[in-house]
């Protein structure tokens, strides 16, 4: 359990942030320059705290009274954007580095499972310089974990990687989260990463917390309709190998994802952009769209402009934002309480990209 309260002058703005995080992933989300990395630095002990406090598992690491535990006494692991592996040590020695400084009684995390989960067993005798960027980052994650930290900070760990590498590592982080039970504070400006990994999102803008909550709630609010994202939760079904589709079963209907995604039965978070959702008052026939979800209009905001983001409550409790024109709202008489069918283009859906 991490409890953070920071008031800090930071260049020309004031960092004023308070949040707490428990097990699972707490995401710090926001554009670059919003102060996310500064928060990480304060938690890790790399920056001294002006005012506020950092408390981990009931232990005060830093506060106003001048207490400041040095980074190496905090037992907080950090995964940076760059892997920062020690170039003079083999992968194996990099992985074992933190163990040297972990008291025997606190070595909760064993080497075998971490190496297996990250798939780095074949790299152990190599030197960091000979690894690809994705491999280096996997080793860096393993190295941080094997110090058995009480908290793991991940500062944009995928930002330096290209698309395919990111998709390769994201599920690994997901697996670590579920398998090793270490609380993670995850910094990112990528909606897909945050929506997929985090149980809770803290949105920072210019050094302040502007929103906080579950990803599904947080990403429904955005200034620009192109950025509004809903998160639909469901269970992965049996993939359709012939058509290369995977169903996600939700109470409101089946969401079809492109591609084969496993394992069957796992909970999946599907990101849906508001601009990829169409609404209909009758179950449509003769359309190419495969994903049709049932729900009720919850809210239609007033306001100027040709388009509006309609809030739909899905059957079973999920929420979905649909960006439609005001003309359509008038035509279909979309008012709160009206049952609707939400049509989502499958090609626009994936478990991750936005």
């Amino acid at each position: 359990m991490i409890d953070v309260e920071i008031r800090q002058r930071l260049g020309d703005f004031l960092l004023d942030v308070a949040f707490s995080g428990g097990t699972g992933v707490t995401a710090l989300f926001g554009p670059s320059g919003s102060g996310k990395s500064s928060v990480i630095k304060v938690i890790a002990g790399l920056t001294r705290l002006d005012a506020g406090r950092v408390v981990l598992d009931g232990k005060v690491l830093a506060d106003d009274a001048g207490r400041h535990a040095p980074p190496h006494r905090r037992r907080i692991g950090v995964v940076f954007q760059e892997a920062r592996l020690f170039p003079h040590l083999s992968v194996r020695r990099n992985l074992r580095y933190g163990r040297l400084f972990t008291p025997r009684a606190e070595r909760r995390i064993a080497e075998g499972p971490v190496i297996d989960t990250l798939g780095i067993g074949h790299l152990l005798d190599r030197h960091p310089a000979t690894l690809s960027g994705g491999e280096q980052q996997r080793v860096a994650i393993g190295r941080a974990l094997l110090a058995s930290p009480r908290l793991l900070l991940m500062d944009e760990p995928l930002a330096a990687l290209d698309g395919p590498r990111r998709l390769e590592i994201l599920p690994l982080i997901e697996a670590l989260r579920d398998e090793f039970g270490i609380p993670i504070v995850y910094v990112s400006h990528a909606v897909d990463e945050v929506a997929r990994l985090a149980g809770r999102v803290v949105v920072l803008e210019a050094g302040k917390v502007v929103r906080e909550g579950a990803p599904a709630d947080v990403f429904r609010v955005a200034a620009d309709r192109f950025e509004i994202v809903s998160v639909v939760e469901g269970r992965l079904g049996k993939p359709d190998d012939a058509f290369q589709l995977t169903p996600v079963e939700t109470p409101a209907g089946i969401v079809w994802l492109t591609g084969i995604i496993r394992p069957e039965g796992r909970t999946a978070h599907v990101l849906v952009r508001a601009i990829d959702v169409a609404l209909a008052t009758h179950r449509p026939v003769g359309v190419s769209i495969r994903t049709v979800l049932t729900g009720t209009v919850a809210a239609v905001p007033d306001g100027p402009g040709p388009s509006v983001t309609v809030d739909v409550t899905l059957d079973g409790g999920g929420r979905l934002a649909a960006s439609v024109t005001r003309a359509a709202v008038a035509d279909l008489e979309l008012v709160p309480g009206r049952p609707v069918f939400a049509l989502v283009k499958s090609v626009a859906l994936d478990e991750r990209p936005v």
């Binding site: 040095p70 980074p71 037992r75 950090v78 760059e82 020690f86 170039p87 110090a147």
Partner: protein
Amino acid sequence: MPDLSPDAWTAIALSFKVAAMATLWGVPVSILLALILARGRFPGKTLFDGIIHLPLVLPPVVTGYALLLLLGRKGPVGAFLDQQFGIVFSFRWTGAVVAAVVMSLPIIVRAIRLSIEAVDAHLEQASGSLGAGPVATFFLVTLPLSLPGILVGATLGFAKALGEFGATITFVSNIPGETRTIASAIYTASQSPEGDGEALMLSVIAAGIGLAALVASEIIARRLRRTSS
């Protein structure tokens, strides 16, 4: 075998002994000083840096004279060491070692400092986040990564110590078998009418040793750079 007098051979052996001891003492001291200069932040750092480099710009005689004043038997430090511990530097080969250390220090510190500064501070941060304190981080990360610079500094320092003359002769004089190093022996030989051959021979040997040290350090550094990247 070159035709050298037994005295000349003694001088060569003594030079090696003095230079080896000077390197052995000089390198750890230099590592400490280089670390302070590379990573430390304190008032007067520039002055501190200047004092370390002073022997490089002062006439060596001045450095030797300063050592004599400080560490001579009647000097404040020298008298204390003599009375308390029975340690005497002046006119002893150990004094030649002290002179060589002081004179080679700036060169060694410079080489090591550059390579410590080239170590990515982010790696030291990563080490800290894995639970390693500053001392452990220094020995496990900073020091091994600065090894090329340390070896280069050590060989340069060794070569410099081997050739040291001005400060040595001022501080510990030119006593055969005790403080007469190659440089002093060359000087002595060159001052006597029949010593020309020996002076030349010793000069060639000194140049050979110096060149060998420089080449060796370059090869070692290149090899280390290759394995670490």
